[in-house]
Structure formats: structure tokens, C-alpha cells
């Protein structure tokens, strides 16, 4: 097992998943639409008072981003499980955890990155300042990969279970809470003038921790699912 063959395998997975997403754009667009709709409904619902919107803005944006991530989780492994590609993935001479990282990366590019890129535009609706928008993007850039990483553990655990969508939410939401608190906290902090560094550092720590642990947990769950 050489290093180049490992890259070949991971690159192969990423390429294939991105190609599949290109062929089924509607699937990929769903979570982005969900985010846009939820975030746009809030100003309509609570009224146009700028002070109120500015207060709830970071929280609403972060909750919507989190739910949009959750929505796309069910798709990560289901198709591979049903058509047998997952068996092939488990039986390759590379460590499964490394392939899982490739899989999560592709999933993040498809469903997380658009959220990050779109967030400044959505933040404008809530009257966030330029600096806060920067912090929002930064916090989502650190936070959404963490959400994908943690989420895939849940997605792998419920493979082959009926009504798995709700079960994933139950499993994963408690683990999402710290990310949500630090993420929304970073934006609120920058608005209040106390700085976002502390929260952003914590988000970074969450990302590193999940990068390190989640792939192993996911790999173990996948093996159990295939038995």
C-alpha cells in the first residue's frame, strides 16, 4: 500500500462524488434552497426592526446552516449502500477511515461550501456589518466541515434502518450544539465588540478533533452496517 495509491483512491472517490453531484444538481441544490428559504422567512416573520434582526441574525443564520447540513446527511452513504459501492469501498487496500475523509470532503464541497459562500449575502438581510459578515463566513468555514464530519458518524450508524432521517437528527443534534454555540457566539461577539477570536479558536479545535476522531468512528460504523 503505497502513498500514491492512497491518493489515487481518495481522489477517485472525491472525483466520482462530485461528478455524481453534477449529474443530480437538484439533490445538491436542495439544502442551499432550504437555507435561503428559512433565512428569508425570519425577517418577514419578526418584522423589519433592524435592532431585532441584528440580534437574532447570527443565531438564525447558524441554526439554518446547521439544519441544512442535517438535511443532506441522509444522502452521504445511502446510495452507496443500496447499489453495493459501499462494499467495494470497505474492501479496498486503503484504510477505510481515509476514504471516509474523501467522502466527507466531497459532501462538504457539495452541501457545505455553497452555504459558506452564500452566507454574507444572507447576512445582509439581517443588517450585519462588514466585519461581522467576515466573521460569519470564517465561523461557517470552520464549522460546516465539523458538522459534516460529525454528521457522517450518525449517517453511518443508521444505514439500512427505516426512518433513518429522524434518527440521524436525534443522534447528531446534541453533538452539533457546541459548534452552534461557538459559531453563533463568534458572530455575536464581533458585533458586541468583544472579538471573535476565542470562539473561532474553539471552532477550530472542534474541527481538528472531529477530523481526527470522526473518520475512525464512521469507518467502524460502516463495517458494522455491512455485516
Amino acid at each position: 500500500m503505497s502513498r500514491s495509491s492512497m491518493w489515487e483512491a481518495v481522489g477517485g472517490i472525491v472525483r466520482r462524488d462530485l461528478l455524481l453531484a453534477m449529474r443530480r444538481r437538484s439533490d445538491a441544490a436542495m439544502s442551499v434552497f432550504f437555507l435561503v428559504i428559512v433565512v428569508s422567512l425570519f425577517p418577514l416573520g419578526v418584522g423589519p426592526e433592524p435592532a431585532v434582526l441584528r440580534t437574532i441574525g447570527p443565531g438564525v443564520l447558524w441554526v439554518a446552516a446547521l439544519l441544512a447540513c442535517l438535511l443532506s446527511l441522509a444522502r452521504v452513504f445511502t446510495a452507496d449502500y443500496v447499489d453495493g459501492t459501499l462494499e467495494q469501498m470497505v474492501l479496498v487496500p486503503q484504510p477505510l477511515a481515509v476514504l471516509v475523509v474523501g467522502k466527507v470532503f466531497a459532501h462538504w464541497v457539495i452541501s457545505g461550501l455553497p452555504i459558506v459562500l452564500l452566507s454574507p449575502l444572507l447576512g445582509l438581510q439581517f443588517g450585519l456589518s462588514g466585519e461581522s459578515l467576515g466573521v460569519l463566513v470564517m465561523s461557517l468555514l470552520l464549522g460546516t466541515p465539523t458538522l459534516s464530519m460529525i454528521g457522517t458518524i450518525g449517517a453511518a450508524l443508521v444505514l439500512g434502518v427505516r426512518g433513518s432521517g429522524l434518527l440521524v437528527a436525534l443522534l447528531v443534534l446534541p453533538l452539533y450544539v457546541p459548534v452552534l454555540i461557538f459559531g453563533a457566539g463568534a458572530v455575536t461577539g464581533s458585533m458586541a465588540g468583544i472579538g471573535a477570536e476565542a470562539n473561532l479558536s474553539l471552532l477550530g479545535a472542534c474541527l481538528v478533533l472531529s477530523l481526527f476522531l470522526a473518520p475512525w468512528a464512521t469507518a467502524a460504523a460502516l463495517r458494522i452496517a455491512l455485516e
Binding site: M6, I13, R15, R16, D83, G84, T85, E87, Q88, P93
Partner: protein
């Protein structure tokens, strides 16, 4: 050499087989036959390391496969009863991504030749796989055999939904693999048209 030592397997309450000991030498094929539900696929999955046996172990060249892990995965090509192909990709993309997944490079020409070898003509290579027939999808999955350099092949019902001509082609490919000193374990309902000295039959009674 592939060995199963005092293997037993239970699915739920049912005992599928127990105390199964068998040896597959290089250059030979083990054909697992038996009724539906007698544990053929479970046995193949145990051989592939997807399913851990309840008791006993599988040895590859004398070493336990659960110790060898990825080293063992590098020795085998497994084609289960699921084809492992994506409906939204073309046959060509499917073959190439399946080979990439194993950590090997696969050129477009090599993939095309493999698909042609199993009787899928060029125009079909560019269609999305969802429009293919069952037999054609099976052939896309089996095309990997023409690109595989692994010594051990594990095939679950390779001939299902194949026509007579394709069955012959796949059998020839299996023969060539055995002649090169490869091993194969296949689950099948059909007689395999290979020289008698190369085939070992195992009947599971369930």
C-alpha cells in the same frame, strides 16, 4: 492459498453451516452450490472479510485474514450480488471509478477494452447506466475482472442475467485467471464449464 478452518456461521437463530474446513489451491476454483438461503452468500462474505465468522477463521497463505486486514484486501477482487455501479454514471466512468477506488490508475482505453471484452459495444459506453438492461449492468460490474491483477476472485452469482455468449466469455476469463495461478471462489446455480481438475464443488445443505 485460501483456507477456511472450522468455520461456522449463524444468522439470527439459524445455523447456516458449522465446522466447515476447506482448502482452495492456486489455479483452482471453488464452486459453492446449494439451495436458496443455505448460506452461500454468507460464506462468500466471510471469505471477503465483510462478515466475521461466528467461529473459525480464514487463512490466506497461512495467515489469518483479520490480522492481515488491508494486505488481504489488496489480494482480492470481490463482486457481490449488488453490482456496485452508479446509475448516473456511464459504464466507462463506472469501470474507471471502480478501479480508481482500489488505488490503481485506470486509463480510458483500458476501461474501453475491458467493456468490449465482455461484449459491450462502444455506443453503450457513453449511455448513463440507468438505461442499461439487467444483463448489461451485470456485465459492467464484471468488466472489472479484465482489469484485475489480484490473485483471488470472489464472485457471487456472476452468471445471473447473463446470456449464453457472455457466460462463455466470463468462463473463459475465469479459466485464464486460473491458468495464471489465480484462485477463485464463486457462488453459482449453474454448472461451470471448466476442466474438472480445476473445479472443487462445495454443497451447502443449510
Amino acid at each position: 492459498m485460501l483456507q477456511a478452518v472450522t468455520l461456522s456461521c449463524r444468522r439470527g437463530e439459524r445455523r447456516l453451516f458449522s465446522d466447515l474446513t476447506i482448502k482452495v489451491e492456486p489455479g483452482t476454483l471453488l464452486a459453492v452450490v446449494g439451495e436458496n438461503g443455505s448460506g452461500k452468500t454468507s460464506l462468500l462474505r466471510i471469505f471477503s472479510s465483510l462478515l466475521p465468522p461466528d467461529e473459525g477463521s480464514i487463512l490466506w497463505d497461512g495467515e489469518d485474514i483479520h490480522q492481515l486486514k488491508e494486505l488481504y484486501s489488496g489480494q482480492l477482487t470481490y463482486i457481490g450480488h449488488l453490482n456496485g455501479i452508479k446509475d448516473d454514471l456511464t459504464p466507462l466512468e463506472n469501470v474507471m471509478s471502480a478501479i480508481n477506488l482500489t488505488g490503481e490508475a485506470c486509463s480510458r482505453t483500458a476501461a474501453q477494452e475491458a467493456l468490449e471484452a465482455i461484449g459491450l459495444k462502444r455506443p453503450v459506453h457513453r449511455l448513463p447506466s440507468k438505461v442499461l438492461s439487467q444483463g448489461q449492468k451485470r456485465r459492467v460490474a464484471l468488466a472489472r475482472l479484465w482489469l484485475s491483477t489480484r490473485p483471488l476472485w470472489l464472485l457471487d452469482e456472476p452468471f445471473t442475467s447473463l446470456d449464453a455468449a457472455s457466460t462463455g466469455v466470463v468462463t473463459q476469463r475465469l479459466h485464464a485467471h486460473l491458468q495464471r495461478g489465480g484462485l477463485a471462489v464463486i457462488v453459482t446455480h449453474q454448472e461451470v464449464d471448466l476442466p474438472v481438475e480445476r473445479v472443487q464443488r462445495l454443497r451447502l445443505t443449510g
